[in-house]
């Protein structure tokens, strides 16, 4: 499996990470190296095996559907690079 520049551009776009055009090929080579190493997993017979999603070997708990926290807009927005009143501010999205 080798990732061509177009594929790297597409993944980078999905991941919302800017990758300059001249970095597409070297980055593709690096990622392909990792994927080539991962390819050995194809040796394993996984027929009939149920996927394991996590390491917690227990049923997930349910909790009461009630509000337990909140009302801390100022504390939460304290880390925002830009804010407008009680909201995060971003460049205009809707024309």
């Amino acid at each position: 499996m080798s990732l061509d520049p177009a594929t790297v551009r597409r993944i980078a776009r999905l991941a919302r990470i800017r990758v300059s055009e001249d970095q597409l090929a070297p980055l593709g080579a690096e990622l392909s190296g990792i994927l080539a190493w991962i390819e050995q997993l194809n040796e394993v017979n996984v027929d009939g095996v149920e996927p394991l999603t996590g390491a917690a070997q227990m049923a997930l708990r349910l909790r009461e559907d009630v509000v337990t926290d909140g009302g801390d807009a100022d504390a939460v927005l304290g880390n925002a690079p830009d804010r407008a009143g009680a909201f995060y501010a971003v460049p205009k999205v809707v024309e």
Binding site: L3, T7, V8, I11, A12, R13, L14, A15, R16, I17, R18, V19, L27, E30, L31, G33, I34, L35, W37, I38, Q40, L41, N42, E43, V44, V46, V49, E50, P51, L52, T53, G54, A55, A56, Q57, M58, L60, R61, R63, D72, A75, V76, G78, N79, A80, P81, D82, Y88, V90, P91, K92, V93
Partner: protein, 492 residues
């Protein structure tokens, strides 16, 4: 004073041989002297530490000693600390000040601990050398005999391990997603335990791979880790995977005999290229346990070699999802763009380092349409087989003993040529994360260059007590007393 273990310092505080303030001041002084060389701490919270120490002295004077009253600790900078900057070793969180306290650190504060500051780590805990930190590498306090070139402390919890080894803290919090507690503990000649997944709450710890991440202590001795874990662990309704189980007296478990225990030796961990010194240390460790009455049994974990490549699908997949929240809007660092998408892309390109970008891209790829089944689902099936391997062997043995890492600490800049070479550091530690079982690293000896080597003890889910008992038995037999050249209280 720096020669005292956490357990001894706790006794000294309770007997009023010295005050918590004296102890904290001594550690703050050592940090001021040595941290410029080691870069183990990213932030030293002197004023808060002194205030906590004074509060500890007041509690001790009232006769109200809790588990860790007055004990100075380093807190890995992955644990959110209320009002104290928490960076996760990343430029993108350079100015992030959490408005909340992680459950683990809140538990430690409840039990009277003093926080000296925030410890350096690989960016978002992704690395095995602490070389990926946005705030510079950590120097291992150990050096090769006759060679002063700086070595890595291991990673990702490299700052925590270096701080404890250089005696800049009595213990440290750390996290382990693929080996990030155990490998740095081994590289720095100290002890660390990754408890069972679910034992310590993940709430308030910056997430890397949520199904693998687990917090634990790094400290000088097995008993010191046991004392710390007692406070760190416990059920937390705020973490949906937190185990609702009582926390045992781990310190008592350190004094249990290993007589009659069955210790498994997985043959798949005996890789062909294994350094003879590591093989010899492994055999020595098994002999020590045999001498104390344990029975050594050969076992097989047939899917061992697939644990790490499967890990490098699961962990990046979860990371790509967890790190989606760092968008230049909500947390601290932003790089502007012409529109919102450009703002996201520029902020993440500027804020994430090369290794984090690689893993987010790999994760995005393996989760993308058309590749999900071939990579992600297949990896999860292999994860099920890895767990089955462990479940099967733990029907016949009480614990497993293996080397912690395939080498001793290496030099800064080594193993950097391609990512997979660095990933292979976790070949012996990763399977415990994939299966959720507890694992401890304990120093067992020095290699012929004078660097520490660690042995790993793996146990059944939620049976940290047996892991502590076996670790303590190795510790007693090894009589490991070697110390790094760079440390507090040493004549430089």
């Amino acid at each position: 004073m720096f020669d005292l273990t956490l357990a001894q310092a706790r006794d000294g505080l309770r007997k009023r041989d010295f005050s918590a303030r004296e102890l904290t001041d001594a550690y703050l002084g050592a940090i001021a002297a040595l941290n410029p060389r080691l870069n183990a701490y990213l932030l030293v919270t002197e004023a808060a530490a002194r205030a906590q120490a004074d509060a500890a002295d007041a509690a001790l004077a009232r006769g109200e000693a809790a588990n860790l009253t007055g004990i100075p600790l380093a807190i890995e900078d992955l644990f959110c600390t209320k009002g104290v900057r928490t960076t996760a070793g990343s430029r993108i969180l350079e100015h992030f000040v959490p408005p909340y306290e992680s459950t683990v650190t809140a538990n430690l504060l409840r039990d009277g601990a003093v926080f000296l500051g925030k410890a350096n780590l690989d960016e978002f805990a992704m690395g095995s050398s602490n070389m990926t930190s946005a705030f510079g590498p950590v120097v291992n306090p150990w050096t090769r005999r006759g060679d002063n070139r700086p070595l890595v402390p291991g990673g990702s919890s490299g700052g925590s391990a270096a701080a404890v080894a250089a005696r800049l803290a009595l213990g440290a919090t750390a996290t382990d997603t693929g080996g990030s507690i155990r490998q740095p503990a081994a590289f720095c000649g100290i002890t660390g335990i990754k408890p069972t997944y679910g034992r310590c709450s993940r709430w308030g710890i910056v997430a890397f791979a949520s199904s693998l991440d687990q917090a634990g202590p790094i400290a000088r001795t097995v008993e010191d880790c046991a004392i710390m874990l007692r406070s760190m662990a416990g059920f937390d309704p705020k973490d949906s995977t937190s185990a609702d189980l009582a926390v045992p007296d781990y310190q008592a478990a350190c004094h249990r005999s290993v007589k009659g225990l069955r210790i498994g030796v997985p043959k798949e961990y005996r890789s062909e290229g294994m350094a003879p010194e590591i093989e010899a240390m492994w055999q020595q460790g098994l002999a020590w346990l045999r001498d104390q009455g344990a029975e050594i049994v050969d076992v097989s974990l047939p899917h061992t070699k697939y644990a790490l490549p499967a890990y490098y699908i699961v962990a990046p997949a979860e990371a790509s999802s967890n790190l989606a929240r760092y968008d230049g809007v909500r947390f601290s660092s932003r790089t502007d763009g012409g529109d919102l998408t450009e703002l996201y892309e520029n902020s993440r390109a500027a804020g994430f380092g090369a290794e984090v970008q690689r893993r987010v891209l790999i994760g995005t790829y393996v989760l993308s349409a058309g590749y999900y089944d071939a990579y992600y689902i297949r990896a999860q099936k292999i994860r099920a087989l890895i767990l089955k391997d462990f479940t099967d062997v733990f029907r016949t043995v009480d614990a497993l003993v293996t080397p912690t890492a395939p080498s001793a600490a290496f030099g800064q800049g080594e193993k950097m040529d391609d990512p997979v070479t660095m990933y292979l550091n976790d070949v012996f530690t990763g399977p415990a994360n994939m299966s959720g079982i507890p694992g401890l690293s304990v120093p067992a000896g020095l290699d012929n260059q004078g660097l520490p080597l660690g042995l790993q003890v793996l146990g059944k889910p939620f049976d940290e007590e047996t892991v502590f008992a076996v670790g303590a038995a190795i510790e007693r037999a090894s009589g490991f007393t070697a110390l790094p050249g760079i440390r507090a209280g040493a004549v430089a």
